[in-house]
């Protein structure tokens, strides 16, 4: 039980996110209207993705320096769930975009960059699937994971900020720039980020345990 406290934390934070996200007062802003509440669900997907992919790349580096096959299992499963959160982030973002920016896909720099980033990570799984030898698969995909992460960070955090983007905090987008300054929204948003991330970590931990069991089974 004691070791599982963070799973309880994830559950409680997510329940709080749903209740607070729908019921707490939110600023009344033009165009956004009630959709501002999507902030507590769409944005944490990306925060969660970045955190999980960071953990993944750390374990890829650890695998390269130690050749421990367990680290490879951890890295691939974190990348897996990170991708899942990314896909959820991009689809929820498209729905939100349709009703506030007027188009499902408006070629917004951050939208495009996120799509490219996800494709780069998709290639990580294609690469893994195409290699037969387990050791070779682990090493080559660990190297690729580092490359993918190094491409993702500028794609999401640097390039969109250099041009005008519809996303808040990139270029000029008045009205919604301040969401993270607003204490009412922050009251739900930060717990939401922690809750969704912990949920992602929980699912990842289950996948890792499954991988460990199947690995053992394959070795005997």
């Amino acid at each position: 039980m004691k070791r599982n406290w963070w799973k309880f934390a994830a559950a409680i934070l997510l329940i709080y996110t749903v209740i607070g996200g729908f019921l707490f007062e939110a600023p009344r802003l033009n165009i956004l209207n009630e959709t501002i509440r999507a902030l507590h669900f769409h944005v944490p997907m990306w925060f969660g993705m970045i955190i999980l992919l960071t953990v993944s790349v750390v374990y890829s580096i650890k695998h390269l320096s130690s050749s421990n096959p367990k680290y490879d299992l951890i890295a691939v499963n974190f990348a897996n769930v990170g991708m899942l959160l990314g896909v959820l982030g991009i689809t929820t973002g498209m729905i939100w975009a349709q009703f506030t920016w007027g188009e499902w896909w408006s070629g917004d720099p951050k939208q495009n960059a996120a799509a490219i980033g996800l494709l780069i990570y998709a290639a990580y799984f294609v690469l893994r699937g195409s290699l037969e030898d387990t050791q070779q698969k682990a090493r080559i995909s660990a190297v690729y994971n580092i490359f993918a992460f190094a491409a993702l960070i500028p794609l999401l955090f640097v390039l969109p900020r250099l041009t005008d983007s519809l996303h808040p905090g990139n270029g000029g987008n008045p009205g919604f720039n301040a969401y993270d300054l607003d204490s009412n929204l922050r009251l739900v948003f930060y717990p939401a980020v922690i809750g969704w991330t912990l949920m992602g970590v929980w699912i990842t931990s289950l996948l890792i345990r499954i991988s460990v069991i199947t690995e053992k089974r394959n070795n005997y």
């Binding site: 799973k7 559950a11 939110a26 925060f47």
Partner: protein
């Protein structure tokens, strides 16, 4: 666990410092010209939405817990 937390706070601080901000003021909260789901709220129907989403969330969390326990049993069985 500690490492995950470190990464988390690192990225929180990244986004917090890199944005141009136009503050949201009290006038935004009281701006009744902007349409919100006020009818839904006054009729209490918003609670229906919250109840529906909560049930789905609880179901998913419950099922994840179930898988977690099942895995623990599997792991114990393998050690014997």
């Amino acid at each position: 666990m500690k490492k995950i937390l470190y990464c988390f706070f690192f990225f929180i601080s990244l986004t917090a410092s890199a944005q141009d901000k136009i503050p949201i003021s009290d006038t935004d909260y009281n701006n009744n010209e902007v349409e919100m789901a006020d009818t839904m709220r006054s009729e209490g129907k918003i609670y229906v939405v919250v109840a529906v989403v909560l049930i789905i969330l609880l179901g998913l969390i419950g099922y994840t817990t179930h898988i977690d326990r099942k895995l623990s049993r599997l792991e114990k069985g393998e050690d014997n």
